[in-house]
Amino acid sequence: MLTLTCPHCGVQADETELLPGGEAHLKRHGPGSSEEEFEGYLFHRQNPKGPHLERWRHAFGCGKWFLAARDTVTMQVFGTYPASLATPTDEIRRRAGVERPGWGFEPGVPGEPEAVE
């Protein structure tokens, strides 16, 4: 079971009280972008086995969106932070960095679309 603390209302919300929103910190590519960029924005996700940044909505509570850093394998939660932040807080980075040596995520830079064979 996954328990995330909503940074807006402080409730320790059960997974069933939350709505998953997919990968966090996607950079929008809209009008004027290339077709490759737009395709990447719509479809290409990192889907890592390990630490991941995600969007969640406290749907059965205050209704606000927030972001969470967690490990997709161990379900270890590094922290949650408001969706208004462009990057994880230093505290979350530190914890994730200490507990996951070598892990360097780059918010706002979703995986580059891989070359199509």
Binding site: C9, D14, T16, E17, F60, G61, C62, K64
Partner: protein, 172 residues
């Protein structure tokens, strides 16, 4: 003896969206309900006259049904010129009363929320899940009160009655 689960008489409810830190918002709410301004996750007063914290920018104000129109006008006057939203949402939700010593367990069996007495005491207002329903609940009187959308009222009452009929687990 199972707890009694009944649909409460229609409440007067007003939704207020606005900046909780704004002095005018706080004064308008306190002036209307005569209670303190609710802190995060709390309810002040009762379902007859009180105010509950719904989210960082939303409050649910309880007044007697007959006073709703007046109260909405008063809030709109008090907050004129300020960015806010006042709506009469009395018909949006229903209130279910759970009367009895085991109200806490009746709720706890249906919700993932931590309802231990050390955590969930009088004055706390928790929005969560009861079975499949979005609902909010708090302790009031000799039991608890639940509010949920009117469209699922029948199911909510049936669900809570089943939970009450099964009796207390004795966990708390």
């Amino acid at each position: 003896m199972a707890d009694a689960v009944t649909l409460a008489e229609p409440l007067g409810m007003i939704g207020l969206r606005g900046d909780h830190g704004d002095e005018r918002v706080r004064a308008a709410v306190v002036g209307l309900t005569g209670t303190a301004f609710p802190e995060r996750l709390r309810i002040e007063g009762t379902s007859q006259r009180g105010v509950a914290w719904m989210s960082p920018d939303e409050l649910l104000i309880f007044v007697p049904r007959s006073e709703v129109a007046l109260a909405v006008d008063r809030l709109a006057t008090d907050l004129a010129g300020l960015h806010h939203l006042v709506t009469d949402v009395s018909d949006m939700r229903v209130c279910v009363r759970i009367e009895g010593p085991d109200a806490r367990e009746v709720l706890a069996k249906l919700s993932p929320a931590d309802l231990h007495p050390d955590v969930f005491g009088p004055g706390l207002f928790r929005r969560s899940r009861l079975g499949q329903l979005a609902a909010a609940f708090w302790l009031e009187g000799e039991g608890a009160r639940v509010i949920c959308f009117r469209s699922v009222a029948d199911y909510a009452v049936a669900l809570l009655r089943q939970s009450a009929a099964d009796g207390a687990v004795g966990h708390f």
